[in-house]
Assembly symmetry: C2
Homo-oligomer: 106 residues x 2
Amino acid sequence: MAHPRRPALVHPEAADLTLYAVLHALADPTRLIIVRTLRNDLERACGTFPVSVAPSTLTHHFRVLREAGVIHQREEGNRRWTTLRYDELEARFPGVIDTVLRAAPA
Amino acid sequence: MAHPRRPALVHPEAADLTLYAVLHALADPTRLIIVRTLRNDLERACGTFPVSVAPSTLTHHFRVLREAGVIHQREEGNRRWTTLRYDELEARFPGVIDTVLRAAPA
DNA sequence: ACACTCGTACGACGATCATCGAAAGGAAAG
DNA sequence: CTTTCCTTTCGATGATCGTCGTACGAGTGT
């Protein structure tokens, strides 16, 4: 029994986010693609992001983003739906997401 | 003869900067203190930053910032003077520095 | 029941990280 | 010349990172 039950998804409170964790989460090409995609489309399933890494690597990046408070994930049947915690990030670190996305390569 | 001559300080061209390296450089409390200090005061000597790490650790952080293109350093006698490459950063990644500094804890 | 899909958990790998102490260089001051 | 000061290089440490293959669990659909 490797994983007896899917562990509950942990999302830090908005007040507990640190700028360092957010910046570190954004400082990676694959994760920045994820964030930019979510900034355009509201919600997406894990497998539908235009990235080119192995599935297990993608899971790792989602965890980094989730634990930094950048994304929110909810489960629905077989899929895991992901959204950007844009409003909370904007309230806590105003302008950071959009400024970084605007500076990021296309 | 450990270091026969002080190696010339390497500063990347503004066009060669990557957002990932800049974000990674900013994603550290000590380095963010350095950047904020330089945003206020134009130029400072290495030893005059309000940080609490060992001198050799400080040298490491300056190298990370320098190689990411965030700061510029010049030697003068015994001291090494450091400046923020603000105009170049602003031209390449508009708003990133100030937005991050505004979001950073005091 | 069966196969298929979606996404994860568990190692494992080499690479990089932040930190420090010790030693040393060069410059300045005595 | 000798001492002191500023900052570096080197080497080491333990931690974390990004990547992947493999195995698996839970849902979906036939």
